[in-house]
Structures are given as structure tokens and as C-alpha cells.
């Protein structure tokens, strides 16, 4: 009885490992295949039966990819887009989140319902009017255009409001008795307490700003003002059959975020788990 249970347990652990390892292989294989393809010549990539390893590890495909797309601009644009979106989301959402959680002011519920309504509507319904607004201002093909729809974040406001609701009122009252006004209470006492939530919101905002495709494609049509995602989609048409170059371009586009992820893996996963469900 005892031994059969033990072997049963070992069997189920073995099965768990087998399934997880198989799953991991399926998750990683596309990336391995991408890296291997990057170094192959076009003929090698099309060999039948498939050639697994490249004959020599040359960087010609990366050179071609770098020549066909202004990668420096794409990196800078994507970096600035992420930077401004994150700064705006964290700053404005912290202020509004704190006010909605801890202060009393006229029309508070009505104003908060604006936040809730935005969260319930799919973002695509805003896109055409947002684009027309931008076009009227003559601001297409700018960094501002990329940041534009994400200047404020309803989700961030909602999320940080939850965080501030979890902080006891006594802390704010103590600060007030020590002579802080509302603004000082916020900046000096409450704001610093929400570090992990702000980090989660920052990661969430960065990941989604980086993956977004439709808005960058619409607002910036000049190749030099595109993001990595949008730039990559133009490469798609340029080299529809030269897969080694396409893979090299994709690898160049994904590397910064993947490196950040490998360095801050725990924060990434925790951040997404905290903001989960949006």
C-alpha cells in the first residue's frame, strides 16, 4: 500500500515534468529556430531536408536588416514612446488614484465613472477620432503622436486607487498633524508607499506600449518615425521570401525587451500578476 502510493506519486511527478518539459520545448523552439535562421544563407534556410545549423555563423543578414530599416531611429522612437507613456501613466494615475481614494471633492463619483467607462470600452473605438484630432493638429509623424492616446491611463488610475485604498487613513492623518498639507501628504508620505504598485503599472504600460501595432502604424507613416513593431511590419513586405533577413530583423526588434525581461524576470511576472486581468 505504502509503496504503491509512493510509486504513484513518483509517476505523477514524472508525468508533470514530462509535460512541462515538452511544453517548454514548444515555447522555446520558435526562438531557437529564429536565431538559427538568422545566421543561414537564404539557400541554406530553404534546404530540403532542413539544415539545422548554419554552415558558418556570419552576420550578413543582420547587416542587410540594419540597412533596410533605420533601426537606430526605431529603437529611439520605441524607447521614447515607452518612457513618456510610463512617466505619464505613473504620474497622472498616482495623483488621480490618490485623490479618488483619499480625498473628498465635488462630483467625485461622476468623475470616477468616467474612468470606469473608459476601461469598459475597447480602445479601437477611439482610434479614428484620435487620429483625426492628431491630423487636425498637424502632429502626425512625431513622438507626441505615438504617446498621444496613452497620456492618461484609466486603468492606471483604477489600479493605483486600489493601492491607495489599502493604505490606512491614520498615516495621512499623522502627516497632517505634523503640518503637511494635502499635496505634501501625498508627495512626501503616501506616494513613496506605493513603489511596488507603480513598478507593476510601469512594467504593464511598457510591455503594452512596446507590443502595440495598430496605433503606431496609423499615426506615424514615415519609416523614420515608426516603432519597432511597425517597422518590422514594413520589412514583411520588403523581403517576403528572404526569411534569414526577416528573422534577423525580428531578433533585433525583440532583443532589448527580452534582455530586460531576463534581468528583471521576477518583477515582470509579479507586475503582470498584480495588474492582471486588464
Amino acid at each position: 500500500m505504502q509503496t504503491s502510493m509512493k510509486s504513484n506519486k513518483r509517476l505523477s511527478a514524472g508525468l508533470t515534468y514530462a509535460v512541462l518539459i515538452l511544453g517548454s520545448v514548444i515555447m522555446i523552439f520558435p526562438f531557437v529556430w529564429m536565431v538559427l535562421t538568422c545566421f543561414k544563407t537564404q539557400a541554406e534556410s530553404m534546404a530540403i531536408p532542413p539544415q539545422i545549423l548554419p554552415s558558418h555563423w556570419g552576420i550578413e543578414n543582420f547587416v542587410t536588416a540594419l540597412q533596410s530599416l533605420p533601426f537606430v531611429n526605431l529603437y529611439v522612437n520605441t524607447g521614447l514612446l515607452i518612457l513618456f507613456r510610463v512617466l505619464c501613466a505613473v504620474l497622472f494615475s498616482s495623483m488621480a488614484g490618490y485623490a479618488f481614494a483619499k480625498l473628498n471633492f465635488p462630483c467625485k463619483n461622476l468623475l470616477f465613472s468616467v474612468v470606469l467607462v473608459q476601461m469598459m470600452l475597447p480602445s479601437q473605438i477611439f482610434i479614428t477620432p484620435q487620429y483625426l484630432m492628431l491630423a487636425h493638429m498637424g502632429l502626425t509623424n512625431t513622438i507626441f503622436a505615438l504617446v498621444f492616446p496613452g497620456i492618461v491611463s484609466a486603468f492606471g488610475t483604477f489600479f493605483l486607487r486600489q493601492t491607495y485604498l489599502g493604505i490606512p487613513n491614520e498615516i495621512a492623518e499623522a502627516a497632517y498633524l505634523d503640518g503637511c498639507n494635502k499635496w505634501q501628504t501625498f508627495t512626501k508620505v503616501m506616494f513613496p508607499l506605493t513603489g511596488s504598485s507603480m513598478a507593476a503599472l510601469a512594467i504593464f504600460t511598457a510591455v503594452f506600449a512596446y507590443s502595440d501595432l495598430m496605433w503606431p502604424l496609423i499615426c506615424n507613416t514615415d519609416l523614420n518615425m515608426m516603432t519597432l513593431s511597425a517597422g518590422l511590419s514594413t520589412l514583411n513586405g520588403q523581403y517576403s521570401t528572404n526569411f534569414p533577413v526577416l528573422m534577423a530583423g525580428s531578433l533585433l526588434a525583440m532583443i532589448p525587451m527580452v534582455v530586460l525581461y531576463l534581468l528583471f524576470q521576477k518583477q515582470f511576472i509579479q507586475g503582470i500578476a498584480m495588474t492582471g486581468g486588464k
Partner: protein
């Protein structure tokens, strides 16, 4: 007394000042555009971004257009193909990662990886893997299956990639839910001699159902508005384009390629209604299976 009234007046001013950027931003960037989009859907688009009210013409045109119905069907089919299987696999991964095994964090990191890679890059790799002539899948199988060009397979192929992309994200959310389930419940069940399978259905599933519901709503919404993946994997020259065209790809084409923003707005309003209906059905249905008594 005087102190409290000053305190609350102070709060009122600061409160309004602090919510002002967000509320003004949302009104300008979202609430006004929302009404504008609805107005546009009842209007004819003229050159230079002008609109002229014309009633329900766009909707009449849309509902009598076969391409539109095809896109609606493709979108619904895409949901059916991705959501149940995707959530099942994510739950499976989450349950396995929740057991006491070595290398949990490594496995978790691997499954989560696609989340930090832009869908544009993900689509590029899969397009290569599924390539008809030279893709590794067909060369290994010795077949010439048009995974992305055959009208029977194209949406299924996109669905596979979508599931692959989201499995880790969903598993991380579900794992957080699973970790809240108290270990004593399982110990008690073990003492009572309940099998692992029984424990899964009687303990795990009910306890994780609120998280499962959140994941379900999120996945339904994201599948109903899928764009990037399909746009990248199925280009304009693809013979199977019409079999993979979703509502959002149709919207993008009509609004920003063809430039008929009035008609495109009708498509987007329809999509929002569709998402709304599906969400309401889920919120009604949840009463039957989601357990909030923890």
C-alpha cells in the same frame, strides 16, 4: 470643528486639481471620441476629415455586405478556437507549476516569454515555421500543407499562435489564484481518501473560479478584437485573406487603407456591441459557476 471644515475644503481643492489631468485627458481622448465615432458611423466621410450626417446608410451597407458577415464569423470562430483550448492549457500549466517541483521559476519564465516579445516579431517567426514550401513543419512532415494560404487552415494556424502567445500570461494569473487556495483543504481531502482528480474538480476548480472568470473575460475581449497577429501573418497578397480577415482587420483596412471612415466606424461600433453582448452573457452565466465564497 473649524479645523475639519478647512481640512475638507483643502481636500476638495486638491482633489479636483489632482484628478484634473486624468479626467480632462479621458474626456478629450476617450469620451469625446466615443461619441464622435458613433456620430461618424451615421455619417458619410468627405475629404479633409469632414463628415456629413446621412442616417443609417453605413449600417445598411454593412449588413448587406458578405465580406462583413464573413469577418464577423471569422472573429467568432477565432474566439471559439482560441478561448476554451487556451484557458484549458493555461490552467493545466498553472496547476503543474503550483505543485512541488524543481525549476518552477524557470518553467514559469519560459512559458511567460512570448508576453515580452512584440506580436509583430512573434508572427514573423511563426510565419516562417508555417511556410508552405520551406517551413520546418512541412519539411519535417514531407508535406505541402498551406497552413497560412489554405482557406481551411489559415484561421486555425493563427489560433494556434494566439494560444501559444498567451498561455504563459494566463498561467501566471491563474497561478496567483491557485496560490491563494489553502493547503489544509487538500490535506483534509487526502485524509478522506479523495483522488487527485476528484480534488481538482471539488477544490481547485471552485476555488480558482473567480480568477478563471477574469481570464475568460479578458481572453474573449482580446480575441474579439484581434488585429496584430492576423495582420502580420496574413498579408494582402495571401489567397486566404478573406478567410482570416477579422472585424478589426476589416476596420483597419476600411478606415486607414480605403479611407472610408464612416463605414469603418459602423464596423467598430458593431464590434463594441458584440463585445458588450458577449460580456453581459458571461456576467449572467458566471452566477452558475463562479464561486465567491472563499
Amino acid at each position: 470643528m473649524q479645523k475639519t471644515s478647512k481640512l475638507s475644503r483643502d481636500g476638495a481643492v486638491w482633489g479636483l486639481v489632482m484628478v484634473a489631468p486624468t479626467v480632462i485627458g479621458l474626456l478629450v481622448l476617450n469620451i469625446w471620441p466615443f461619441f464622435q465615432a458613433i456620430y461618424m458611423s451615421f455619417s458619410k466621410s468627405l475629404p479633409f476629415g469632414e463628415f456629413e450626417f446621412e442616417g443609417i446608410d453605413n449600417y445598411v451597407e454593412m449588413f448587406s455586405n458578405a465580406e462583413f458577415w464573413k469577418a464577423t464569423w471569422n472573429t467568432i470562430l477565432f474566439c471559439i478556437l482560441t478561448v476554451p483550448v487556451g484557458i484549458f492549457l493555461a490552467l493545466l500549466v498553472a496547476v503543474m507549476l503550483n505543485s512541488k517541483i524543481r525549476g518552477r521559476t524557470t518553467f514559469r519564465a519560459i512559458f511567460f516569454l512570448p508576453m515580452v516579445v512584440a506580436p509583430a516579431a512573434v508572427a514573423m517567426v511563426w510565419k516562417w515555421i508555417f511556410n508552405t514550401q520551406y517551413g520546418i513543419i512541412n519539411t519535417m512532415l514531407g508535406q505541402n500543407i498551406g497552413w497560412l494560404t489554405d482557406s481551411r487552415f489559415v484561421l486555425l494556424t493563427c489560433a494556434v499562435v494566439q494560444i501559444w502567445s498567451n498561455i504563459g500570461y494566463d498561467a501566471v494569473l491563474l497561478l496567483a489564484g491557485l496560490q491563494n487556495v489553502s493547503a489544509t483543504l487538500y490535506e483534509a481531502a487526502d485524509l478522506d481518501g479523495a483522488s487527485k482528480v476528484r480534488q481538482f474538480f471539488s477544490i481547485t476548480l471552485p476555488m480558482v473560479s473567480p480568477t478563471l472568470f477574469v481570464v475568460l473575460i479578458m481572453r474573449l475581449m482580446s480575441s474579439l478584437k484581434v488585429f496584430d497577429l492576423v495582420y502580420m501573418m496574413v498579408d494582402d497578397a495571401n489567397p486566404a485573406l478573406s478567410d482570416a480577415q477579422t472585424l478589426m482587420s476589416l476596420f483597419y483596412r476600411e478606415s486607414f487603407v480605403a479611407g472610408d471612415k464612416g463605414y469603418a466606424s459602423a464596423i467598430v461600433v458593431w464590434t463594441v456591441l458584440l463585445i458588450g453582448i458577449v460580456t453581459v452573457i458571461q456576467f449572467i452565466g458566471q452566477k452558475k459557476w463562479v464561486n465567491y465564497e472563499v
